[in-house]
Symmetry: D2
Amino acid sequence: MAAASAPLIRVGIVGGTGYTGVELLRLLSRHPNVKLHAITSRKEDGLPVAEMFPNLRGAVDLCFQTPEKAALDQCDVVFFATPHGVAMAQARELIAQGVRVIDLAADFRLQDIAQFEQWYKMPHACPDVLASSVYGLVELNREQIPGAKVIGNPGCYPTTVILGLLPLLQAKKPLIDLSDIVADAKSGVSGAGRKAEVGTLFSEASDSFRAYGVSGHRHHPEIVEQLDRIAGQPVGLTFVPHLVPMIRGMFTTLHLRILPEALDTDFQTLYERHYATEPFVDVMPPGSLPDTRSVRASNTLRISVHRPQGGRKLVVLVVQDNLVKGASGQAIQNMNLMFGLPEATGLEQVAVLP
Amino acid sequence: MAAASAPLIRVGIVGGTGYTGVELLRLLSRHPNVKLHAITSRKEDGLPVAEMFPNLRGAVDLCFQTPEKAALDQCDVVFFATPHGVAMAQARELIAQGVRVIDLAADFRLQDIAQFEQWYKMPHACPDVLASSVYGLVELNREQIPGAKVIGNPGCYPTTVILGLLPLLQAKKPLIDLSDIVADAKSGVSGAGRKAEVGTLFSEASDSFRAYGVSGHRHHPEIVEQLDRIAGQPVGLTFVPHLVPMIRGMFTTLHLRILPEALDTDFQTLYERHYATEPFVDVMPPGSLPDTRSVRASNTLRISVHRPQGGRKLVVLVVQDNLVKGASGQAIQNMNLMFGLPEATGLEQVAVLP
Amino acid sequence: MAAASAPLIRVGIVGGTGYTGVELLRLLSRHPNVKLHAITSRKEDGLPVAEMFPNLRGAVDLCFQTPEKAALDQCDVVFFATPHGVAMAQARELIAQGVRVIDLAADFRLQDIAQFEQWYKMPHACPDVLASSVYGLVELNREQIPGAKVIGNPGCYPTTVILGLLPLLQAKKPLIDLSDIVADAKSGVSGAGRKAEVGTLFSEASDSFRAYGVSGHRHHPEIVEQLDRIAGQPVGLTFVPHLVPMIRGMFTTLHLRILPEALDTDFQTLYERHYATEPFVDVMPPGSLPDTRSVRASNTLRISVHRPQGGRKLVVLVVQDNLVKGASGQAIQNMNLMFGLPEATGLEQVAVLP
Amino acid sequence: MAAASAPLIRVGIVGGTGYTGVELLRLLSRHPNVKLHAITSRKEDGLPVAEMFPNLRGAVDLCFQTPEKAALDQCDVVFFATPHGVAMAQARELIAQGVRVIDLAADFRLQDIAQFEQWYKMPHACPDVLASSVYGLVELNREQIPGAKVIGNPGCYPTTVILGLLPLLQAKKPLIDLSDIVADAKSGVSGAGRKAEVGTLFSEASDSFRAYGVSGHRHHPEIVEQLDRIAGQPVGLTFVPHLVPMIRGMFTTLHLRILPEALDTDFQTLYERHYATEPFVDVMPPGSLPDTRSVRASNTLRISVHRPQGGRKLVVLVVQDNLVKGASGQAIQNMNLMFGLPEATGLEQVAVLP
């Protein structure tokens, strides 16, 4: 843990009534270098946070406040756990006041503004801030994050797909057919957020399994933008998300075509070496089959690499907790880097199993 | 429904203490043309079936009996809801006595005996009976089933993969790359059977998602044998099964490469026409996203056909109840055909939703 | 089954977009004496019912219609699967046109209008119709139901509590302390209906257990009114409902004080005799422990009677499917009686297990 | 947290292959004052613990060892996460070597040996050690625990029932009818342990609810022994446990009869005052309805007090995580006291919600 004598980071959270908000609070309330300064909700002004989220009783004493009362300009960093579009409206002013911004929504994920506007159906409010923001996938952008004023925290699906492909894309020679990447992804229901909707009612989503967004999902352009950049060429991605009757957890199955000239690659070793020093990426031993519960409530992402029957297909399995490594934990990982803390500070929780 | 005046089919069930057994009983106890004659279990001899399965109280009066007492030779048909290897040991004698056999295990699924012996780790007891048996996928072999003495009831995964591909494989011209078929399949936990095992305990399988059998699954050779035969050439199949925290239900996502010369195919129409007269295959309207609950406890299999962003990949989604169309319902569908009944007799139940 | 030659009952359903609506459709679409005439929804006018509820594809061809188009006056019977207050606004006109009414909401459950108005926060629209209506608990009011023009279909909790107590209350001599009846009840989430609400989202209700309505629940006065009437004296009831992370199913645990003078009662025999001829009430053998899945998707209610350590407390366990015996199945049971059909017509489904 | 300079407590765990074992490891691996010395399993000798429990990968490096290799005599404290009967066979020797013992099974819970032998079907191996052991319910026996050599860690149900009643039993005057205490308790499935059994398979326990142990449960005599002692008189307890389809969590509903002379008691204040300084017992505000997820994976137990309609019954609702406060967390709470650490050391985790 970091030295107790360092000054505490004053943290604000905008829009803390959803699942990424309560998860930020669960983690930050035990972070040794953080002081929770304010949490905003226009609608719930005055309500003790712990009344909405009783798991926080005794751990978080704050009440929701309107943004006006919250004095966010006195924070060192503000997390936006809001719907898309909120962070970009406030980011410029905050950073002008020396406050750093970590957006858990999509406002700073896509550098391609046309793509942003097509998928999120709104104009971008601050293209210049976007241009200077950093995509907060630590394992990809560890060098740029400490200096960033604004972080676009990655989407949950993109985190699994990009980290599942990174060792392949950054290898010295081409290994897989980049024109035919299949990501068959499965998410727990909390990924849909804490919105009152029929489709995610218990009686609708329990004891059933379904696909969604097959014709197009907002995470598709985000993944492609990153993969294109990493690969230095356009990739072809088929991305099919599914809904699993579980609360937390994300499981992505990557089906990849090994290039003929790469059939003798030792993919297991490739992955192990690539992630050898990463604190939150765990390449499992050969033959392992990860399950989402092995990362439940922790910031770890686990990968296992398979080559069925030693053939021409590579199957990469990736698991994470969508609310931690896929959202709030990753955001705190970014914060730690931005403030010079050891990357794992406050994120050492062991996954909860069973 | 069939005329009530027809003589009742005397039915025996061997090994009815598992989930396919209780599901056979649920359905057969309300089948208008069936008289349940006997159900065997060496271990549970004398126990009323309804004591083990309380849903059957008032519907099934039988007690489990040893095979010796059960007089299976007086049956018209015997279902084997047993572990692999049991049916093939008894089939020859039963059919010699004029009893027809429907095996819900794997003894009569694979015509390639070498494959059978490799995957099931036992010699085949009756290759000649196997040679004359019929693979009981009605939508594929409707003509041969009525005359069959022994039916190998298809595995649950193969049912979804084969029916999901059949319109493509039986089309007049090649449509997809047969060397690269990806079946990313997801099953409810009941597919693992009613065996006391740690891995399928509630506390292990609930609120989690995982893959299994990535390096090899017994249904892989079964699927490939059928696809090879239908396509008239070897196919390349990547088959990755996953375990979903739900009781019943199977969802298979097929990722297919459309051949360049077939890019202008109207796949929706192809599927609709192919299955237009099938009572238990429902091709959903364009854009539909099936969920497994829409077939829960029914014999219907639903398919939807997608082409994300109008590109080169075809994504076919298939759902069924693994215990009904994937096992016991399909077995009864076979029985109906074997005894000249309308195919849907006793299988008209509407799926249970929610 | 009833003779196929009888004229079909023309059935209308008002407000079929909820769970009791789809459950009525599941059951009625296979009822041999029913013709579905119309189903209304002002909001969904024109939408095929099977598009909202895909389990009905191929089983129900109707579209939702506005009440104006639906010509409900041409029905023989109309089910109201609506929020409280709708049926009472339309009942008078319908019965004037010879249409019989079965209300699955609360408009005709409470004869005490003051209680109704206190708990449901609305004036009663037709006290005279209410006065002539019958409380549709068949096992209690089998004689009055055939002649009823309007049926108040019982609430789900009241069905379990009343049927769990009926043999005691109708015994020849006092058996339990009527001033201290504890009903600790547990319901699946579908009891909350198909409303978009945060509290019943999957991520809120799954993998958790909670009580609700401890300070007062609308079913409390309904239960008390019936118990008072049956007992012929005021009873004291503690009713604590809980929410179980399952879709369907209701489990009520009754904790009762045996009167000192009744300690030698054979309660098992009392219950067995009381319900000996009931088609849908199953008194289980001594020592049985019912589970809700044993009645899933069926109209059966099961009871077991316990006396822990042979002491002074009687523990009665009651299970039902809240959507069938607790709602739509019971409504059809009423319809069968009203139209002179065998009580079990169309309700013979065996429970789905697993 | 405790000073990092204190010598680390060397901890051994006997039988760590079950759920209380893995939960001890999750918590102890992050405990600042603990060094994990050994974990034993005769069957799994040599297996890395993290291979059986992948959530521990990177957090626990130990392998299972046979007891012979484990050198438990070098530990400061040994936890027994074993079946009943194991701890009492080894306790005498361990404490002779200066090792303290915390048993998570039942060997040291019941002082009444006749009761122990009746319910656990084995003779007690060390009545003298039992006599000097302490029942490790911290909120009851905080004074005796620091000096104890052997702790009997309470059962999960007893923890909820006793703590739910304690303010009433320790009040200055009689408040409730002690002859008629009803504890209607509900537990998640992990309470049944990690044993391969049909009854707790996912397909058996999911989407269903049932009672068990109605005729007698081993926690009944444990609860009664403690209540008798606290009350100074025999109590009458009806205890009905139920199984909830959730992994973790326990919810106990206490139905109590308020004595006529105590009807003016302010029960809310009584409870709040009683537990005002307890770090792990949270008396919720009036009208609160606790859910089990609000304590998931944390050591907190929450209580809310209700008096429906202001009547003669008191309804007390108690929730805990059965594996933490109901088992492993409570055991560590005991350890902290035994070794002079602040009681909450290593147990500050915030509950995981959703």
